[in-house]
Symmetry: C2
Subunit: 794 residues, 2 copies
Amino acid sequence: MKFNQFAQIHVDTEQALTELQAIGLFAATATTAPLATNFAHFLRCCFPEAITETSQNEALAKLVLDEQLTVSAFLAQPTALTATQFYNVALQLLGFEVGTEFQLADPIAFMKTSHLAFNVATPLDNTTLLTDIYLLLTTHTKLGLTYLDDLANRGFFAAYTGPRPLFFNGKAQAVFATDDLIKEVVYVEAPLDTDQDGKRDLLATTILRPRVPAGLKIPALYTANPYFKGINDVAAKLHTVDQELAVKTDPVAAAKVATPPIPAPRPVNGHAEQAEQHATANQVYSLNDYMLARGFASVYAGGIGTRDSDGIRTCGSVAETVSTIAIIEWLNGKRRAFTNRTDNIEIKASWCNGNVAMTGKSYLGTLAIAAATTGVAGLKTIIAEAAISSWYDYYRDNGLVVAPIDCQGEDTDVLADLCFSRQKDAADYAKVQQVFADELQQLRVGQERQTGNYNDFWAARNYRDQAEHVKADVVLVHGLNDWNVKPRNVEKIWQALKPTGVQRKLILHQGQHIYINNMPSLDFSDMLNLWLSYELYGVANAAPDVLPNVMIQDNLQAATWRGHHDWASADRKRQLYHFTPAALTLDEPTDAAFVSFKDDNRRLFEQRGRDEVQWRDDFTKEPSVYAANQLRLKTVPLAQSLVIDGSITATLQAAVDQPAGLLSVLVVDYGQAQRLGATPDLVERHGYRLTPAGQTDDLVEFKLQPATDYKVITRGHINLQNRQSNTTNLPVVPNTFYTVNFDLQPTHFQVAAGHQLGVIVYASDMGMTLRPQTVATYQLDLNACQLDIPFTKH
Amino acid sequence: MKFNQFAQIHVDTEQALTELQAIGLFAATATTAPLATNFAHFLRCCFPEAITETSQNEALAKLVLDEQLTVSAFLAQPTALTATQFYNVALQLLGFEVGTEFQLADPIAFMKTSHLAFNVATPLDNTTLLTDIYLLLTTHTKLGLTYLDDLANRGFFAAYTGPRPLFFNGKAQAVFATDDLIKEVVYVEAPLDTDQDGKRDLLATTILRPRVPAGLKIPALYTANPYFKGINDVAAKLHTVDQELAVKTDPVAAAKVATPPIPAPRPVNGHAEQAEQHATANQVYSLNDYMLARGFASVYAGGIGTRDSDGIRTCGSVAETVSTIAIIEWLNGKRRAFTNRTDNIEIKASWCNGNVAMTGKSYLGTLAIAAATTGVAGLKTIIAEAAISSWYDYYRDNGLVVAPIDCQGEDTDVLADLCFSRQKDAADYAKVQQVFADELQQLRVGQERQTGNYNDFWAARNYRDQAEHVKADVVLVHGLNDWNVKPRNVEKIWQALKPTGVQRKLILHQGQHIYINNMPSLDFSDMLNLWLSYELYGVANAAPDVLPNVMIQDNLQAATWRGHHDWASADRKRQLYHFTPAALTLDEPTDAAFVSFKDDNRRLFEQRGRDEVQWRDDFTKEPSVYAANQLRLKTVPLAQSLVIDGSITATLQAAVDQPAGLLSVLVVDYGQAQRLGATPDLVERHGYRLTPAGQTDDLVEFKLQPATDYKVITRGHINLQNRQSNTTNLPVVPNTFYTVNFDLQPTHFQVAAGHQLGVIVYASDMGMTLRPQTVATYQLDLNACQLDIPFTKH
């Protein structure tokens, strides 16, 4: 395991001493005490579960200093303390095992291969001891926490009486109890009346916060989560994708729906300090839990149309964004909340310092981006994980209906329906059923599945168009193998934010659509702690400078993360790969060459049980039972590795024997190799400890799996009628060649030397596009086909 | 979903009233109040998160009574209340959704198909209202908890001031706070000196217990868990199984190892009321957590040789059992514990009422069985899940080394090594390294992998031989598809306990080696709560009569559990199935018939990447690439379903062209069908709420999966040299026919009508037995081969 700690700050001796003093680990007077006394004092503090000195001694007695000496023996008869001896003890304290994991003769060798920080000074004096101890406290244990976090979880701060919040190494420490949280629900009044009942929509808002010293106001981590109050079963409402590609005609513009007037705010009939409803939240996010003990409240809201709130779901609309930021406005003192829906008793977020960060993955992260594009005051930063930045890029591509993976038939109406959890309360649902049915119909009209084109509906759901308004600093996290929210979403918002001048950080991992807060190879919680301490408490920890702009997980080796200056930048070098009948090649073709394939892979797909996962594997592997449905070309084995960085542009010259057609492209890494798993493996169930009170998450890590023959690098799809743009329909004359030119999903992927880069051109994609029944024959003019690949070096 | 509630007790009206009064839900005076007043009072109590009356009213306002009437409207203008109306409300309270899950016109229909209890009386009067409310409180919500548990988790008992513990419907309720547990470690002194240091072994014991009213003593759920303090990586220490079957010679009896003398107990230098060490336990069991809030302490101990304890691991030995029960003896006041290892300060379990139950799965459950066979005082009951009852049945079978599935090469020495977590503390390990190395050598001698025979070593590890000493009542839980701890372990101890007269309960599920406390289809936690309230608090709830002797999950339908009088009883009817070249058949064969197969499947296994999972599938499915390595016979499609109950006996007449040989038998259900998954699917992450303080488990359930072609019913293996017994070696003359007769693993399995019962006879099993290189040819005399199948009816 390599422990990549981007958030470990190096401080000078004076600063280290000040911080150690603050937590009782190195008294100012200690600088003149014997070294062994200071070392012994520190070691005693390393066993906070031991209440008595005897108990501490017994814990100490289990440690060895080197091959000859136990720690107990050393403390009884102190001599000089070497760096080797110190790090032998340090590694034991961090949870590593003598003999099996590291050798007492050379602990530093293990620390180097594990990427654990150390100082080389030897033998130690009081100054180097204190800097070594400081460094150790900020270094990760075997289970992926800083050692100080580990001590805190074992009771280190139980008797702490110093100032709160407490920051150490620039990060907030777990000095707030989470076993006695204030858990409450209030109703924020949004400037909306989406359910058209003549009253502003009230939004149930759940707050979990620690009890704090008098006078302390704390910031909030706010997660806007449409799934928070449960979801509806929409299996029966999925659109069928077993249908023909339409010959497009320009749609009749839908009649503009008048925006209903917004009623006046409720009158205020009084004020309360206490909420009237206890929260019993179950769906929480580990990162929020982690920060709770460190002095950051957690705020959750489902938003309009979710259970206990007013309004209706509108999937990506402006109203949804307005609903999302209403909570921030309340936290920031600019909007009202009430204790209940009846009495108009106002309750203020008087506990909040007005600073808010948004967190969450997928739709949750999407709403964080939506909120940021409003420039709402109080929103200091967002941590948007696997977030949509334009809903067109979620449900469409180049004039095609293209589903998120494993979500064939889903669309904005289905998702709105899924999240409309007001349906769960029968009497409440009855009041709003018709309004919501009308809204679903509006969504169906606007999303226009029949053309798949970009239109006003999608433009209203493209947050990137509002990027200029962003004032919050932004952390983006995305999986390079996320085929649910595809990487274009993160790449385009990353680029769109460049001109704004806000601080931007980007973390790209090799997983799918997942959270990555609980992996030992990356100090994700530390980085976010550093970031949030900076953003919400104003701690001068230089977080924007400490963290690299971009952190990308290596796809060849486990537990390997690199800092980069940028990702997918416009100035990447590019290399053209040409198509010949025999290969994908760097050499320009000389002879004309045509190939054809048939698009009838739905037939075989159905014969084989309509299994999309199986289809993807069958379609990509060699040999493929779908060989007649594709053109597959490969390079010769690469002499050197190739690091693709950004979006490959595919240019294809193609004809189809039908009046409509589509092209799909897969770019594949061929070569037998152990590769990282698609999802992280479990390292230890409940192994990632979030708080001293005992909240945990599972500890997981991407590990190299048994060797496979290939790995999909990226993909893309285009409607031949949209060869000019995703808004323009051009006719397709059967058997006439047209050139299409489109970007595949962006990536960062190293193809190893000896591997072959492959491309598969085909038409309908059983897992993502419509699945026409009509058998179409496609021709490609290979001379005019190419991949334009941006690349970089590691 | 069908909610099978075996622990729901039906009580008379008087008892219901008494219990409802105790929790404030139905005052004695209420019997003369208007029905609507009583109904309103109850409904208000159903929203404990609502602090004010307004807030309660708003929650009530979301409920409907029927298609015309909301609950609010009804309460404003009360009329008669029908059973249909009551159960409409009840289902909404239980979390079911109007319209999508049940219809307001007929809630009873849904309750019937869901196996939810109801009363038919209509319209309701005060008496029927109170019995209906009582019944509702004991009925399961959609997430698999009683409604009263659900209310408790939402704060119902937050203001409870009545007596504790509190029992409702015979089960302890969550009236103890778990957010402020006492968490402590003490050192129990066992009457052992397994590490031969001249001092009795001290065993670190972790106690988690709620704070209780003065004077209350509570019972303990004790989990003996050798993995509690972590495990060692033993991948390099697995035995190779790529080796030939030995031609056995009788082994030279190992020299008896003298039992080291047991030192005198430590002197007592004082007494303490408080422990000296806080516990920071992470590896806990959900069932224990669930019971903590209900007034049952949790006690965990790793036992000898685990981190923080003395001694060495001895895997299944008498010393291990003595170490296990030392904790019970302390809890029961018959053994000493100390606050630390140094000062000899005694600490008593003064908080404990002396009554102990043991819980846990696999090795943990095994130690529960071990402890029970000592008859130790204070151990009132054990809940042994997936437990070993004889270690020979775990690592051996009929004179063969047979591994638990996915554990090829493991043996008692490897497991002892794996659990010897003292290795994690370098200074501690150094003291005991040699003693433990010697012990491992003793284990290797005793386990005798070269013969695979039963011997004194295994006899000492056969707990069933001590079954007559069992005094504790016993609950056994086992997966019928558990190929780690195979079902013979549970079947044999079930039978062995029959003469003892202790209470015995048995739960057989269709899973593998898993816990089943978190499945909505079975009220496992309720049953155990009922049982433990009876056993440890002496509650007169008639638990032994309420719960069926045996509960078995159906293998054809999801969420279907049946109560049975017994399992695998000796008086089951039996049916002989004969082997002919064409089929497995009920007709006795007339003509002689010989078939042969070759045992060289290791060759293909290696060519295909040594993947045991793949091998099992390839070997069993049709057609099989391993066809030359097996005899496969099938019945004609069954005209009627067949419920196999118990152990199939295989009789085979076979010859091999080598001086040693083995036979394996698989019995298979062939027929395309949707079957239950091998492991339960996730229903809701964190969906199973254990305590009001917020501990959760994932909610899971066995669901029908996409159709498959076959399912393995059972299996067995035998060494031809052990055709007489597992202790006797008989020579195998090449090409000479011998008859073997042996039991396959017991099961309870319904083969559906139309399916074919199949049998596969083969030799080496890549996943379980040794894997000889020598290519052997086996012959079978089919006329003398048969399966003798015990069966029953549902």
